[in-house]
């Protein structure tokens, strides 16, 4: 059995709803608006706002220090390389690792010595 629109309407209207008194809600709303507009609120705001800005400038903009720069890459000095090639010795002081077998290239023998 289906309900007609009127029956549906009647069913919905069976609910009884008790509203709170209008005047109490209206007065409470008016009191809140009054409080919001009161001069004391604005004076407090006028005092607090600059203080908040000063505090922000003092503490709010601090950032952690930037990370330290990475140590520079050690470049092999050209004269050191040349010295190494010419005398066939181990690397100079300050070089990270010894070069056991110098790479041969034109003009040098396999041990890196001048023929």
């Amino acid at each position: 059995m289906s309900l007609s629109d009127d029956e549906l309407r009647a069913e919905l209207r069976r609910r009884s709803i008790t509203a709170p008194p209008f005047q109490s809600l209206w007065s409470a709303a008016a009191a809140r608006v009054q409080r919001r507009r009161s001069p004391a609120r604005w004076i407090a705001l006028a005092l607090l706002a600059p203080a908040a800005i000063v505090l922000f400038l003092l503490f709010g903009t601090r950032r952690p220090p930037p990370p330290l720069p990475a140590p520079p890459t050690v470049q092999l000095p050209l004269e050191g390389l040349l010295t190494l090639r010419l005398d066939g010795q181990l690397p100079l002081d300050g070089l990270a690792r010894p070069i056991a077998e110098p790479t041969p290239f034109a003009g040098f023998d396999t041990r890196g010595r001048w023929p």
Partner: protein
């Protein structure tokens, strides 16, 4: 505090108050305390000029639109502050007059309404309970008339099914 316009509207708002509260209740998932808060906020908005009646629709349509918007703002705020409430089932306290004999039907209607989607419930409340036309309901709900009509038809269909089931 009362602005001139608010003072002018006050008698009409007082006359519409029971209907406004019923609408607020519908917008707040039948929570009377929340509906009261929402309605008070609506009056605040009218008093401080945040909600201004400009005569583009009837006062009732405008007021109901403000109630609906305020209720959804309150709901968003509540969910933002207490997101866990989304997980909790919404239990509505039974109204004292509903506990009396003969209140079963009201409970049944309430339960049937609860099965509807929010928009469907709103349009059916506005049309059946508050005597709005579907077009006025659309204006109060902030949707197009076509969309409101679709919600209205679907709501009637589901409501009928739910009420006939329990008959």
């Amino acid at each position: 505090v009362d602005s001139a316009l608010a003072l002018e509207l006050k008698p009409q708002l007082a006359a519409l108050h029971p209907a406004s509260f019923a609408w607020a209740l519908a917008c707040c998932r039948d929570d009377p305390a929340e509906a009261e808060d929402v309605l008070q906020t609506v009056y605040e908005k009218i008093l401080d000029g945040r909600a201004r009646f400009e005569g583009r629709s009837s006062l009732k349509t405008w007021l109901f639109a403000v109630v609906r918007r305020t209720a959804s703002e309150a709901r968003r705020r509540r969910v933002f502050l207490r997101p866990w409430l989304l997980l909790a089932p919404t239990e509505r306290p039974a109204a004292p007059d509903e506990e009396q004999a003969g209140a079963e039907r009201a409970t049944r209607v309430r339960e049937a309404l609860a099965t509807l989607a929010a928009r469907q419930r709103e349009v059916i409340e506005l049309v059946f309970f508050h005597d709005f036309t579907v077009e006025e309901a659309a204006r109060a709900m902030g949707v197009s008339a076509g969309s409101a009509r679709v919600h209205y038809d679907r709501a009637k269909h589901r409501l009928r099914a739910a009420l006939v089931e329990v008959r």
